[in-house]
Symmetry: D2
Subunit: 353 residues, 4 copies
């Protein structure tokens, strides 16, 4: 971590929407980040309470009390993580002074195409000018742009798991863009802290199902990013499933090469793309990624397999939906925006077992 | 259940290999079957013990003590369920008198092509003549043949989940046989009662991974059945994954229609194929199958979905790997072989929650 | 099952409150009960829908549609299971014609002492006359009274697990009534189908905690039953905990004998009390009960242990909270009320694994 | 962390027995410890392999390859964590040079009374002289002694959860030493990385049972520590149970005060004992500890409850069995032995959800 600027002053951070899973996960990482100090935490429904009283796992820490978002004094803040729902996020960020770096974990600034956003999320977009300045925060892909922006739209969890393996291949134009199938499985925390029968322990545990077939909101997000680097529209088939686990996404991705390329090209392309990366690793041949291997960490593991007979190529990527799929990547992006060593504060190890 | 022959004498049943999960599951169903009586249970490693002492959930039942397979007196037995490992099964069944109906739950008699069996399971097949007489026990597909045979090879759990939706479509020749992708997820009981680090609770729970990519043994089983009804070889892509649940398989199957057929043909074909069936049901439009809905039962639920844009068709099938995927289907087959009402003894409801 | 009256006509049954876990569990058992036919199912919030559309695990059965409780035509009904919340239950049962047998699964009729009920449940009791006629439905203890009543109050799940081992000992006056400690652990389904953060999969799985310390509502229920058979008030210490499992209660009960009795007396007393019982079994020495051994079934297993040094006696009881702790015992009671063989319809086996 | 000696040289650490759960957990914490460097990892069965190949969650770290214990070059090592089985540990530690600080996670040096060790663990103790010099590593209790020793015996997981609340009360002599009941529930990782049917996911999940009643090995360990601070022998009743969770211990402890003291004295005593401690916290009145609140961390939370009627006092303590119950406490002890800030390297937050 010697690369970072150790003379740098402490960064004062606000977490907007601290009582959801991504807000809580940000706090876990920020608490041990040597450069950041949490100075404001908002949660409208719990305003006035100590966060350690609402979430007892935080009761040993000296943290600011929960307040309403309108009570945040932004004059004392250097960086904001915004963890509120889609739609709400735009409104809040529109009111944050320009000098403050913002990392938004909602979908509000993930779409260059505002109409596609509005159709996908079924609501108006009211901050077009902010959208134009925002950068899609897939750190490994957009690092240079992230360095120069003040607003990062942190990618969705499924899109992160799909785009990290697919984008380098699409960029290099070595796979067919037809028949890309993404069969994804996510832990329940991906559904957020929502009270629904279908998320109760009694109805989740010891079972498994698909959901949101054909039209899950993350499909247009994935397609619009793939399209950026392809000459054509890329239509994927995306099927999410709900795993009876707390954390973790595994995406099994089925692709075909074009006639001029083969499995070796695929492997070489991904290995080259990520050989310098600390958080993304391409597994050795025949090693199969598991969500167990990345649980609680900012790592993404990618395995590449090939069926000699059917010529099918199968890529499996795993990550922790709350870390590389949300709060970890958010900190990684903020580190980049602020010129801090990218891995600072993200060194907490994988929780195994 | 009025259809069955109520004057029929009680069928004396032996379960060979009673201490594995499929053996135990057979006992659960046989105990309430009005026509069957368990007269012999074998488990070499526990021979001499009461089964209720080894498995305390059975301690309230009056069951025969566990014996070695060589100590079974077949002269008193009408029907045998064989739940021993692949390879062992052939030897045992070769020594069972011809007049006894046998349902084998191993892979030993699932392959018409003996060479393919030997390659897949990496061992010799020593009972060719039995293989020729055996019927592949996908009850809904092969009911007429099962009625006339004395040896049924019960299908594998994954193959059952894949073939029930695929075979009618292949038979009717309305889907492309290229690019069939079967992304399957199975509960851990599918791995059997095996002592391995990777099956320990501590290493399974709260995580998810694929395994056996490209060359899982159930792939040739699925392909050889599909080939029977197609004019060509059918090469599938089959990726199994391990779910942190006890029971349940969900297969997400990606197929394409040929130019002359569309989603309506797919739906009509499957609805017609199974409209008279009690254990297989095609879900109404937009209802998504869940393993929760079949847990502990002999049901298989199938949902059919269609992506207008990419033309991809997605079929999801769910079943309980220990019931319709093993012991339940075994009883269903034995009922058919013996002329008993097919659903007799299989009426235990879904365990929800 | 030969003991039951096979000439008996089918009993027409209504389940009031069919969309909760106990209602659904009743349906699971009633569906295979040879004497009962479900003719009415109520669920106010889903009135008008098919139950198989709301709960897809029931979609293969021919069941009446869900209706409002006020739309039940009681003239066609012989027996009612009432699965609505405490307080609501009294109102509904007050309006059920006298000739109908009723088994209530709420707490409304569990207390002889109306004041204690009102204090414990913090609401008025408005059906004193019904209370006087009701019998506390611990079948093995009150069988003779149950035969003669038309209203059974089905015991709570924790009380069933505590009273089955304790009542015979208290009756026989061979244990001290001081320092009885009941440390209970229950699966989450015991909390009902309730939308609360604390019942979400993400917040339940991979963790464990106590709840409702000191003043859980089941403590007065247990104490009032113990008091009936003792010469003195019995003050217990009762600590419930929430297990990350769907079903199952395990109660670890710490008691002391008086000077004149020892562990042998305890064992003899319980063995004699239950030797004729099919659903309650005292385990052999040194065998430790597990919820796994009773899952999905109406069994209660009891183990008795003794610490030579400290003289402490430890009794462990296990049952499935939704079966022997609720719906199974309800059917057992109804069978007794109607003169049907007590175990009829309750023969579905333990789900293992 | 500013209190620690920042001029201190890096401490070279060996982990003996790196392939078990406590060894792996040590690595997780050591990897982010600013003062320690892992220079040797042993695992006889995997000697010669990279640890990242055996445990893929470690494949992004630069760690020494696994070697046999006899191949460790102790001349380059400052501190050893020993995570091998009871009995083996004594042999290994006997051969470690005297100048090296050792923290042993086995039971080998936990008993002052060698005979009690030999009886409890059913094997000879062959390192009496080392035993005499060892300190029982309950850091908060024995900190001063730990500072001066070179060999710490890290307490068992259950004993840590029981002794942290009980020892201050026993020391101060304000509770009765009769009828102390410790009803403990532990996650499965406590059983170690052992291949047994009873630890398979399929047989653990969705169930619960007690085990090791009356004579669990941790009972004598707890009693011998309590005895040290009491004037009399203390006979406890200790009942461990196995939770279907990966990590976490919750102990529900039932005690009685003597006539001269009451609940206030209990609370005051524990609050005073731990008010300066960072890792042990006494919860506010009525807040109930949960294993969720300490998962993955070195915290121990203690709640105190009182039943006005029965005068029973109930103390609930929770910790993560792999952290405060093993590897975290080991590092805490090593920090103390080496004069490093006690909390250094232990600041990784609670994993919630």
């Amino acid at each position: 971590m010697s690369e970072s600027n150790s003379n740098m002053q402490t960064v004062n951070v606000a977490v907007i929407g601290a009582s959801g899973y991504t807000g809580l996960e940000l706090i876990r990482f920020l608490l041990i980040h040597p450069k950041y100090r949490i100075v404001a935490l908002t949660a409208d429904s719990h305003a006035g309470k100590k966060i350690g009283d609402v979430f007892q796992h935080l009761n040993s820490y000296n943290l600011p009390s929960l307040i309403k978002v309108e009570d945040v004094d932004f004059s004392k803040i250097d960086a904001v993580f915004c963890c509120v729902p889609n739609g709400t996020s735009q409104n809040i960020i529109s009111n944050i002074p320009d000098n403050i770096k913002v990392c938004d974990l909602s979908a509000d600034f993930r779409f260059d195409d505002i109409k596609l956003y509005e159709k996908t999320y079924n609501q108006k977009h009211l901050a077009h000018n902010l959208q134009e300045k925002s950068v899609y925060g897939l750190t490994e892909i957009n690092r240079d742009k992230i360095k120069k922006t003040r607003l990062v739209a942190c990618p969705g969890c499924y899109p992160t798991s799909a785009l990290l393996p697919l984008l380098p291949l699409i960029k290099k134009d070595i796979i067919k863009i037809e028949n890309i199938i993404i069969d994804s499985k996510s832990g329940i925390s991906g559904a957020g802290r929502t009270q629904r029968d279908s998320l109760l322990f009694t109805e989740v545990s010891d079972g498994f199902s698909a959901y949101g077939l054909i039209n899950h909101r993350h499909r247009p997000e994935i397609e619009s990013q793939l399209k950026k680097y392809s000459n054509n529209d890329v239509l994927i088939s995306f099927t999410p499933h709900l795993l009876p686990i707390k954390r973790g996404i595994l995406s099994t991705i089925y692709i075909n090469t074009d006639e001029k390329h083969d499995i070796t090209d695929i492997k070489d392309c991904l290995k080259e793309s990520y050989e310098e990366e600390i958080f993304v690793s391409i597994k050795k041949d025949n090693l199969i990624p598991s969500t167990h291997d990345v649980r609680g960490s900012n790592f993404c593991h990618i395995g590449i397999f090939h069926d000699d007979r059917s010529k099918q190529i199968i890529i499996i990527s795993v990550l922790d939906n709350l870390v590389k799929g949300a709060s970890g990547q958010a900190i990684q992006n903020m580190n980049v925006m602020l010129g801090i060593d990218e891995k600072e504060g993200l060194t907490q190890g994988v929780i195994f077992p």
